[in-house]
Subunit: 159 residues, 2 copies
DNA sequence: TGTGCATTGATATGTTATAACAAGGATGCT
DNA sequence: AGCATCCTTGTTATAACATATCAATGCACA
């Protein structure tokens, strides 16, 4: 995989293509990417960083798109269910998905320095945890895999 | 690994030996397992279930061991730092560690039916996430690996 | 055109977590 | 013993994260 999130890249193009993929997804599946939802996704994607629901709300309300918590939470709920965004459990925060549409069990690299988040793939069933689950007769439905640490840039800066 | 948590076992003995291990740990490392902390750990261990901080607080305050949130959070903070308990990020809840002392990168199987939690081992560096991290130059400091689903018992009951 | 359903607006509240500061109590040193 | 220090606890207040509920709006399709 890539971890493009930690590298210099043409982020404007990155956002455009991701938004296009998101729109295509919604169109294909009959989901309505309304203005609030669309803008919420753009905000989440505008940096590869985890944003709290209230951070998102602040952005939205600054643009007149709703001022109460449910606005943000509803948008996030929609995006997460649609696979267009993910919740980072370790931070109680949210991040835009960089490859929407692909049915995935995401794993994250989370920088504690700059809060950047890179998305990777896992296969829970093939891990040691998957072995343990099989041995125990446990049926895995959802997995959370998150690693916290320092991204290359923050290793140089703060060490 | 075992996932003893989902199986019938002599839980009284299980708790006794875990508490002994915890005490040994604290003694060896000069940590003070005070009454509140000790009782908090016992409560967390009393079932192999995740307990919210306020659930724990309710137990503690029912026993006259402190009535305000910081009491519970301080105890949990101590236990987690000492490796005697773990936070389940996906639930914002806490669980007693069943093999304290061993320096470990735990992974969890979490039943959404009964909130039971089984603890397994991972090696973040050897996973695909570890590969991704290396490729990206990311330094992993802590990992969160949690799988939600249904334990054997709850598969039978609720399906 | 109207009926139904998804979405949004708004108020209130629930749940999880921490900041800040005062007071108590153990430890170690002289 | 006296005292300093540091860890721990008590308490108040508040911050941060999240949801229940109900009314109003608007789109979609018969």
């Amino acid at each position: 995989m890539s971890a493009i999130e930690f590298r210099d890249h043409d982020h404007a193009a990155c956002m455009r293509s991701t938004m296009q993929a998101a729109e295509a997804q919604c169109a294909a599946r009959g989901l309505r990417l309304t203005p609030v939802r669309r803008r919420a996704l753009e905000i989440l994607l505008s940096e590869h960083r985890a944003l709290g629901a209230y951070d998102l709300l602040a952005h939205l309300s600054a643009e007149g798109l709703g001022a109460q918590p449910p606005v943000a939470y509803r948008a996030l709920d929609f995006l997460v269910k649609a696979g267009l965004a993910h919740k980072i459990e370790a931070l109680n925060a949210y991040v835009g998905c960089v490859h929407p549409g692909e049915d995935h069990a995401p794993a994250f690299l989370i920088c504690r320095g700059c809060r950047s988040v890179a998305e990777a793939e896992t296969s829970p069933t093939k891990s040691r945890l998957g072995d343990a689950a099989r041995a125990a007769g446990f049926r895995i439905e959802r997995s959370v895999v998150e690693a916290e640490g320092l991204c290359p840039a923050c290793q140089e800066t703060g060490a």
